[in-house]
C-alpha cells in the first residue's frame, strides 16, 4: 500500500511537471487565431518615454539608456531621442537607420540595410501581421506576451527573435541578438 501511494505521488508529480512544461512552452499561433493574438500589439504607444537595458554576454552589468520616442505611422518613421548615457537622436525609416549626434546638423545614415529598419518599423508601428518573416507563438504561462523567431536568414543575422509584452500601461519589446539581449520598455504619454 505504501509503495502504491509512492507510485501515485511520482505519477502525479510527472503529470504536474508535464502540465507545467506544456504551459510554459511557446506554441505557434493558429492562423485563424492570429488576428486576435496580434491585435493588442498593433496599437503600440506612438509617443512616450523609453528605457532600454542591454545585456552583453561578457558583461556583468547591463547597459542602460533612456529617452523619448515618437512614431509617425503615416510616414513610417520612428524617432528615438536618447538622453542617457549619451545624447543622440536616431531616425528609423524604411530606407535605413539615421543618426544625429549633438553638434551635427543633419541625420547621417548609419545602417544601410533596409531589412533591419523595416523589421524595427514593423514592430513599432504594429504592422506585424503581413510580414512573412515572423512566426508568431504564444505561451499560456505568459498570456500577455507573444514571441516570434525571425525566419528570414538575412535578417536573423541581426535579430534572432522578438518578444512583445503588454501589461497595463507598459509595453515591452525584447530583441535577441547573438550574445546580446535587449529589453525596451515603452511608456505612453498621457494626454
Amino acid at each position: 500500500m505504501k509503495h502504491c501511494s509512492q507510485v501515485l505521488v511520482v505519477l502525479f508529480s510527472c503529470l504536474y511537471a508535464i502540465g507545467v512544461l506544456a504551459n510554459n512552452s511557446w506554441q505557434p499561433i493558429a492562423k485563424q487565431q492570429l488576428k486576435q493574438y496580434l491585435a493588442p500589439y498593433q496599437n503600440l504607444p506612438v509617443k512616450g518615454t523609453f528605457s532600454q537595458s542591454k545585456k552583453l554576454q561578457f558583461l556583468t552589468v547591463p547597459i542602460r539608456s533612456s529617452g523619448e520616442f515618437s512614431i509617425d505611422k503615416q510616414q513610417a518613421e520612428l524617432l528615438w531621442q536618447q538622453h542617457k548615457p549619451v545624447q543622440q537622436q536616431t531616425k528609423i525609416t524604411p530606407a535605413g537607420i539615421y543618426q544625429q549626434n549633438p553638434g551635427q546638423s543633419d541625420f547621417v545614415k548609419v545602417v544601410d540595410d533596409t531589412v533591419v529598419s523595416q523589421l524595427l518599423l514593423a514592430v513599432f508601428t504594429g504592422d506585424i501581421a503581413e510580414q512573412d518573416w515572423f512566426l508568431w507563438q504564444h505561451n499560456p504561462a505568459q498570456a500577455h506576451c507573444i514571441k516570434s523567431d525571425i525566419l528570414l536568414a538575412e535578417l536573423s543575422q541581426f535579430v534572432q527573435s522578438i518578444k512583445l509584452c503588454q501589461q497595463q500601461d507598459l509595453t515591452q519589446i525584447a530583441l535577441s541578438e547573438k550574445q546580446v539581449e535587449t529589453l525596451i520598455e515603452l511608456t505612453e504619454y498621457k494626454e
Partner: protein, 773 residues
C-alpha cells in the same frame, strides 16, 4: 583590238591568282568576322603592359553574362533557373554555368577574421579621433554603439575588442554588403511582386565567330522560350548577336538593293545582257580584290566594314558606265576605245584614292578596313575598265541618247547651271550653308551613340538594373574605373588608400554614389602598424580605464598579431571573393582596380587621376570619343589640304579658272551635304565628315567629265546613270538601323545629289552643245 596584249594577259593572270588566293585563304583560315561594337574603335592609349592589364579587366568584365529568371514565386524561378542551367551546361562554347553559389559569409565570420588582427583596422573617424587625441569622442561613440537598438557588430566583436574600434571599422565598411540573399545556395533578388534567380555563365567569346555566337544565342533563346519564367539577359554575347544579325541583314539588303538598282539602270540605259555582264565583271573584280586586301592585312574583319563596303558596288559601277558610254560613242565614230575618258577617269580615280588613303592612315581599325577595302576594290575596277574594256567591242551596249526628250530637259537645266548667274546663286547658297554650319553645327562623337542597342535587350537590361538597384548591396558597376599601378603590394594599397580618401569626399558631395576598393578592407602593413600604436596609446589612458570600469571590465593590454594582414590572405576569404578580379600582378608590377558606382560628376573623377601618374582613370568610351573628336579635326584639315592639292594639280593640267571651277564643285556639294545633314540630324558626327571623303571623290569625278567634255548628252546621260546608282545605294544606307551608317549614308546621298546638280558648272568655260551626241 582582236588579240590580247601583254597588259590584258597580266590582268587575267592577276585576276586568276587573286581569286585562287582568296578561295584558298577562305578555305584554309577563314577570316574571323567580328561583331563586337566595343572593338570597332579600339586604340592603344597607354603603355603596352598597362594596356594588357586593361584588356584583361575588360575581358573579365565582358565575359561575365547574367540571366535573371523572373517569376512571381521564388520556388518557380529557382526551378526554371535549374532547367536553364542544365540546357546551358550541354552547350558548347559556354563554360562556368553557375546557379548555386558558396554560402554567403556571415557577419560574425567576417568579424572573427578581423579580430585576429587587433588594432590594425580602424574606421576613418576613429583614426582621426585617435590621431587628434579626441578620446572623449571615442567614449561617446562607444556608448552610442553599445546602446544602439540593434547592432550585431557590437555583439560579434565586443569580447575581442571592448574599445569597439573593430565594430566601428566594420560598420564603416557596411559589412553586411558582403552578405547576399540566398535560397538553397541560389542568389535571388526581389522587385515589387516578382522574384528573380541569378544564373551566371561565361561564353568563350574570344574563340567564337559570328555563326557560333548566333548559334549559342539561339540556343539560349529557345531554352528560354520553353520556360514559364521570363529570361532577363545581360552580356556582350547578346549584343554581339543582335549587332551581327542586323548588320548581316543590312549588308544583304543593301547589296541586293544596289544590284537591283544597277540592273534596272543597265536595262534602262544600255539595254543589253552584255552591258550587264560587263558591269557585273567590274563589280565582282573590285569586291574580290577588296576582300583579298582585307584578308591579307587584317586577322579580324568587322562586320560594319562589310556594310560600309557595299558602297563599292555603286562606285565601281560608275567606271563601267563611263567606259561603256565612251565605247558606244567611239564605235559609232569608227573605232571602239575609251581613250577619250582616260584623263577624267584617271583624275576621278586619283581623287578617290586620295580620299581613301586618308582613311587607311586613320588611327581607328574600322576606318582602316573601310579605306583599304574600297581602295583595293577601286584600283581593281579602274584597271579592269582601262585594260579590259577596250579589248573587245563586246562590251559595247546598245546605248543611244539621241531623241530622248527627258535628256533634252536635263541638258537644258544643266546648261542653265553652267552659267555665271548660277555660279553666283550657288556661292550665295554656300555662304548661307556656311553660316548655318558656323552658327548651329554641333558635333557629337560619343561612341556609344554610333550603334543601336536592341530595344528588347535594352529593356531587359533596365529591368535587371532595377532589380540590382532595389537591393542597395548589389549595384551594377559603371564602365569607368580607376587603375592603380605600383612596384609592390604595400605601395599599391597605400596609393589606393590615398585615392579612396578623396573618393570618400566625392561620395559625401554626391558626385559619386559609391565605389568598391580593396583598401577599404585591407591596408598596408605600415598603416596597420600605425593604427595599432594609435589604439594602444588610447587604451592606456585614464578615460579608457574609466570606460572599462563603468562596464565592469578590467584592462587587458592590446595584443599584437604575429603578422599583419596581407593581400593574398585577405583575398582567400570568401567575403573578399568579389575583389579577386580587382587585383593583378604582371611582370613585377602590381595593379588594383577601383570600381565606381553612380557617377554624377565625371570631370571630378578624371581630375583625381591627373594628380598621380600611377593612377589612371579608365573611361574607354570617353577616351575613344575624345580620340574621334581629335581625328575629326585632323580629317577636316586633311580634306582641306587634299582639296588644295587637287586644285594645284588641276591648275598644272588645265588652267586657273577651270581648276577653280572644278574644285568649287566638291566644295559646294560638301558644304550643302553637311548643312542638310546638320538640319536633319541636329548633331553631326565623325561619320558625316567621313562621308565627305566620298562626296569629294565622286564630285571631282563628275566635274572632271564635264570639264573635259562639256555639257553634252553623253556626259549628262552617263553621270545621271552613275549618280542614280550611287544615290540609290546611299539613300538606302541612310535608312540603316545603325546610326553611324545612317549618318554616313545621309551625307553621301545629299552630297552626290548636290554634286550631280552642280557638276555642269565645271563646263562654264566650255562651248555648250545641247544637241551634241
Amino acid at each position: 583590238m582582236t588579240g590580247a596584249n601583254g597588259l590584258q594577259k597580266l590582268w587575267l593572270f592577276t585576276f586568276i591568282i587573286a581569286t585562287c588566293l582568296l578561295v584558298g585563304l577562305f578555305i584554309q583560315s577563314p577570316p574571323k568576322i567580328n561583331a563586337d561594337f566595343s572593338q570597332i574603335f579600339s586604340q592603344q592609349s597607354v603603355d603596352q603592359q598597362t594596356e594588357k592589364v586593361i584588356e584583361q579587366i575588360r575581358q573579365n568584365n565582358e565575359s561575365a553574362h547574367l540571366i535573371l529568371l523572373e517569376a512571381a514565386k521564388l520556388d518557380v524561378a529557382v526551378k526554371q533557373a535549374e532547367q536553364l542551367a542544365d540546357r546551358l551546361q550541354k552547350t558548347e562554347s559556354i563554360r562556368e554555368v553557375k546557379i548555386t553559389f558558396e554560402p554567403a559569409p556571415k557577419i560574425e565570420e567576417i568579424a572573427q577574421f578581423y579580430a585576429q588582427y587587433p588594432g590594425a583596422f580602424l574606421s576613418e573617424r576613429y583614426q582621426n579621433w585617435l590621431a587628434q587625441q579626441n578620446y572623449q569622442a571615442i567614449v561617446d561613440q562607444q556608448f552610442t554603439a553599445l546602446t544602439q537598438m540593434v547592432n550585431p557588430l557590437v555583439g560579434s566583436t565586443f569580447s575581442h575588442d571592448p574599445s569597439l574600434a573593430l565594430a566601428d571599422f566594420l560598420t564603416e565598411q557596411n559589412v553586411s554588403s558582403a552578405v547576399q540573399q540566398t535560397t538553397q545556395g541560389h542568389l535571388y533578388l526581389s522587385l515589387n511582386d516578382s522574384q528573380a534567380v541569378l544564373l551566371y555563365f561565361k561564353p568563350d567569346m574570344s574563340a567564337m565567330n559570328i555563326q557560333q555566337i548566333a548559334a549559342v544565342a539561339e540556343q539560349i533563346d529557345l531554352a528560354c522560350q520553353a520556360l514559364s519564367a521570363k529570361c532577363l539577359k545581360v552580356g556582350q554575347l547578346f549584343h554581339a548577336d543582335y549587332a551581327s544579325q542586323s548588320a548581316q541583314f543590312e549588308m544583304m539588303a543593301f547589296s541586293l538593293a544596289s544590284m537591283l538598282a544597277i540592273t534596272l539602270l543597265i536595262c534602262f540605259a544600255y539595254k543589253t545582257v552584255r552591258a550587264y555582264l560587263a558591269t557585273l565583271l567590274v563589280i565582282s573584280v573590285s569586291i574580290i580584290f577588296g576582300l583579298l586586301a582585307l584578308v591579307i592585312f587584317f586577322a579580324e574583319v568587322h562586320i560594319l566594314t562589310l556594310v560600309f563596303g557595299c558602297t563599292l558596288i555603286g562606285i565601281s559601277a560608275d567606271y563601267a558606265f563611263h567606259a561603256m558610254s565612251e565605247l558606244a560613242e567611239s564605235k559609232q565614230q569608227g573605232q571602239a576605245n575609251i581613250k577619250g575618258i582616260h584623263k577624267p577617269l584617271f583624275f576621278g580615280f586619283l581623287t578617290s584614292v586620295i580620299g581613301y588613303i586618308i582613311l587607311c592612315f586613320s588611327p581607328f581599325v574600322i576606318f582602316q578596313q573601310v579605306g583599304l577595302f574600297t581602295l583595293a576594290g577601286l584600283l581593281a575596277a579602274y584597271l579592269t575598265v582601262i585594260v579590259i574594256f577596250p579589248y573587245r567591242s563586246w562590251f559595247v551596249g546598245q546605248v543611244s541618247w539621241q531623241g530622248k526628250t527627258w535628256l533634252q530637259v536635263i541638258l537644258f537645266g544643266q546648261n542653265k547651271v553652267a552659267s555665271a548667274k548660277a555660279l553666283l546663286i550657288l556661292l550665295t547658297v554656300i555662304v548661307l550653308c556656311l553660316v548655318n554650319l558656323a552658327m548651329r553645327a554641333d558635333y557629337s562623337d560619343d561612341v556609344r551613340r554610333f550603334y543601336q542597342v536592341s530595344p528588347e535587350l535594352a529593356e531587359q537590361q533596365d529591368k535587371v538594373a532595377q532589380y540590382f538597384q532595389q537591393d542597395s548591396k548589389n549595384q551594377l558597376a559603371d564602365f569607368q574605373f580607376y587603375l592603380i599601378t605600383a612596384d609592390n603590394p604595400q605601395l599599391l594599397l597605400d596609393k589606393e588608400r590615398d585615392l579612396t580618401n578623396k573618393l570618400h569626399k566625392l561620395v559625401e558631395q554626391n558626385h559619386l554614389a559609391g565605389y568598391a576598393a580593396m583598401s577599404d578592407w585591407i591596408i598596408s602593413a605600415n598603416a596597420q602598424k600605425r593604427n595599432w600604436h594609435l589604439l594602444n596609446t588610447y587604451q592606456q589612458t585614464e578615460l579608457y580605464q574609466s570606460y572599462l570600469q563603468q562596464l565592469g571590465l578590467s584592462y587587458q593590454p592590446l595584443a599584437q598579431a604575429p603578422q599583419w594582414l596581407d593581400i593574398e590572405t585577405w583575398l582567400n576569404q570568401s567575403f573578399a571573393m568579389s575583389f579577386r578580379n580587382q587585383y593583378q600582378q604582371l611582370d613585377g608590377k602590381y595593379y588594383a582596380v577601383v570600381k565606381l558606382y553612380g557617377i554624377n560628376q565625371l570631370a571630378e573623377l578624371e581630375s583625381l587621376a591627373d594628380e598621380s601618374n600611377q593612377v589612371l582613370f579608365i573611361d574607354r568610351a570617353a577616351k575613344i570619343s575624345q580620340q574621334l573628336t581629335q581625328f575629326r579635326g585632323y580629317l577636316i584639315n586633311i580634306l582641306l589640304l587634299a582639296v588644295a592639292v587637287a586644285w594645284l594639280l588641276l591648275v598644272f593640267s588645265f588652267n586657273m579658272k577651270q581648276a577653280t571651277l572644278v574644285t568649287l564643285i566638291p566644295v559646294i556639294s560638301s558644304v550643302i551635304s553637311m548643312s542638310v545633314s546638320q538640319l536633319v540630324q541636329n548633331e553631326l558626327t565623325i561619320f558625316n565628315v567621313l562621308a565627305i571623303v566620298l562626296v569629294l571623290a565622286l564630285s571631282f569625278d563628275y566635274a572632271m567629265f564635264y570639264l573635259s567634255k562639256g555639257v553634252v548628252a553623253k556626259v549628262s546621260f552617263t553621270t545621271l546613270i552613275s549618280a542614280l546608282s550611287s544615290i540609290f545605294v546611299f539613300a538606302i544606307l541612310g535608312l540603316s538601323s545603325t546610326p553611324a551608317i545612317a549618318s554616313f549614308g545621309l551625307t553621301v546621298f545629299v552630297g552626290i545629289l548636290s554634286s550631280y546638280v552642280v557638276a555642269p558648272l565645271a563646263a562654264l568655260t566650255k562651248q555648250r552643245d545641247v544637241h551634241a551626241r
